[in-house]
């Protein structure tokens, strides 16, 4: 079966600093993969490369068979135009640590923004989709609220609805619960778990062991821009193979 996301031997450097070094992995359709590891391991950078918000210095990334950000010619990979890259991003949803809801728009307008301004969908139809999605994330009553009037957990659920409004084939979640207190984080985890059960393909960079253990099918453990360990989530938590992962898990469970 064709992979939903195929990361092939990518590297990324900022000057002499290697953010990612020869990273490769596949995500199968419907699979939920958690990227774990200490801060600075390169988890978020991978996500930002998958939708070409950051550019890679080597390797290639495919999402559902299409090469992201470049067109391949005999003598090299040529970066695509703004319009072409934007079209690729339409089927890749992204959720950010700091929510990044458009703060001049209401929750409903935020969710409608993709369908209306990117897909040129009629507003009535977009509104219906947005209302359904807000209902789905448990915020049916909050459509007219501005982001500043919502709690962090609510904002993040609106942000998830905004990404879902584009019916993405793949969702990238960049530390979706890191900016939230444990109680608010829990409501976001519940939302993400419901998506996983519906078969949404997700790649989640996280520090939240609840997500990695209970939601993810697979864990990729990283350090210093390299993959240290890659395996089923239950195996990773029950018996991590690498010493580094053992150390990481023992420090977390000490809390």
């Amino acid at each position: 079966m064709k992979a939903a996301v195929s990361v092939m031997d990518i590297s990324k450097a900022w000057g002499t600093y290697a953010a990612l070094t020869n990273v490769s992995f596949d995500v199968a359709p419907g699979e939920v993969v958690a990227l774990l590891g200490p801060s600075g391991a390169g988890k978020s950078t991978i996500l930002r490369c998958v939708n070409h918000l950051d550019t890679i210095t080597a390797g290639r990334i495919y999402v559902h068979g299409s090469l992201i950000g470049y067109s391949e010619r005999s003598d090299g990979l040529y970066e695509l135009s703004d319009v072409e890259i934007s079209r690729q991003r339409q089927s890749i949803g992204m959720v950010f640590q700091s929510f990044n809801l458009f703060r001049h728009l209401t929750a409903l307008q935020n969710v409608m923004s993709g369908p209306v301004h990117v897909l040129n969908m009629p507003k009535d139809k977009a509104r219906q989709i947005a209302l359904n999605l807000l209902e789905k994330v448990g915020l049916g009553q909050k459509g007219d609220s501005y982001p500043s009037q919502l709690s962090g957990g609510q904002q993040q659920r609106v942000a998830i609805a905004r990404a879902l409004a584009m019916s993405p084939k793949v969702m990238l979640l960049d530390e979706p619960t890191s900016a939230l207190d444990p109680e608010l984080a829990q409501e976001v985890v519940v939302t993400i778990k419901a998506l996983a059960e519906e078969g949404q393909t997700m790649l989640i960079a996280t520090h939240d062991m609840g997500i990695a253990r209970d939601v993810a099918d697979r864990v990729i453990f990283m350090e210093s821009g390299r993959i240290v360990e890659d395996g089923p989530s239950n195996e990773f938590f029950a018996s991590p193979r690498s010493d580094r992962a053992k150390q990481f898990l023992s420090r977390i469970s000490a809390h």
């Binding site: 991003r89 990044n100 458009f102 001049h104 993709g114 990404a163």
Partner: protein, 284 residues
Amino acid sequence: MTMVTSHIATASELPIIHRRRWGSWLLGAAALLLVATIVAAGIQARILDLPVFLDYLFSPLILTGALNAIVLGTLALLIATAIGFVAALMRVSGNLILVALSSTYVYLFRGTPMLIQLIFWFNAVPIMFKTITIWLPFMDAPLVSMPTTAVVTPFIAALAGLSLAEGAYMSEIIRGGILAVDQGQRAAARALGMTQKKVLQQVVIPQAGRIIIPAAGNQYIMLLKSTSLASAVGYLELLRIATDIYSSNFRVVELLAVAAIWYLVMTAFATALQTTLEKLFPQR
């Protein structure tokens, strides 16, 4: 135990007495006295002849001057905003040539007095270019060809001078507004699949717009008052008309007061406009 309870009871019964700020009261009284003295001296000296003042306040000439000032100031603000927007986009474009051009424009037009720029447009440009000629490709004769003095009227010179000088200030204000929009907002818009143009239209401009409204309102007020500089190139705005009148009847104080009153009215109008816009487009 009883000791403590009674102690607390006594503590809450006693009223709290705030410290009187005698010093600031005295200072306020002294300031009022000073103002009263100046006003009384002014009235005693009869510097302002009230009937004459009221006569000119609503005279058609003065009202025309005020209207001309509003037209000039408002048009100049609109043009300056357009120029400033383009210059600001050039400045944040990251394109070295565009950045250099935009920075040079801001430096030159913000760095020289507005008055010099106005006089330059009116007096120097017609000397430098005797005729204005516009050629279109594939045409044997020019589309437009006329003496520069016929094109550069006092109004055009004043409008060009004020717009270009103000455009430099507006470009810095707009650039500040654009930079104040959080990078995360742009990243979210691009992640949805918006092109750079859409990101600008749907996210950056609406948010930067709200940020720049107070500063733009401030510039509008400054510009309405700066229209008085156009008196130097003979444009019949408020100050020019007031000075023309008092140079024949010597009612200097009354006419300057009349002009000042109308500038205050314009400023009140601009302030109200700014407040309304801020309420319509609040920063969230």
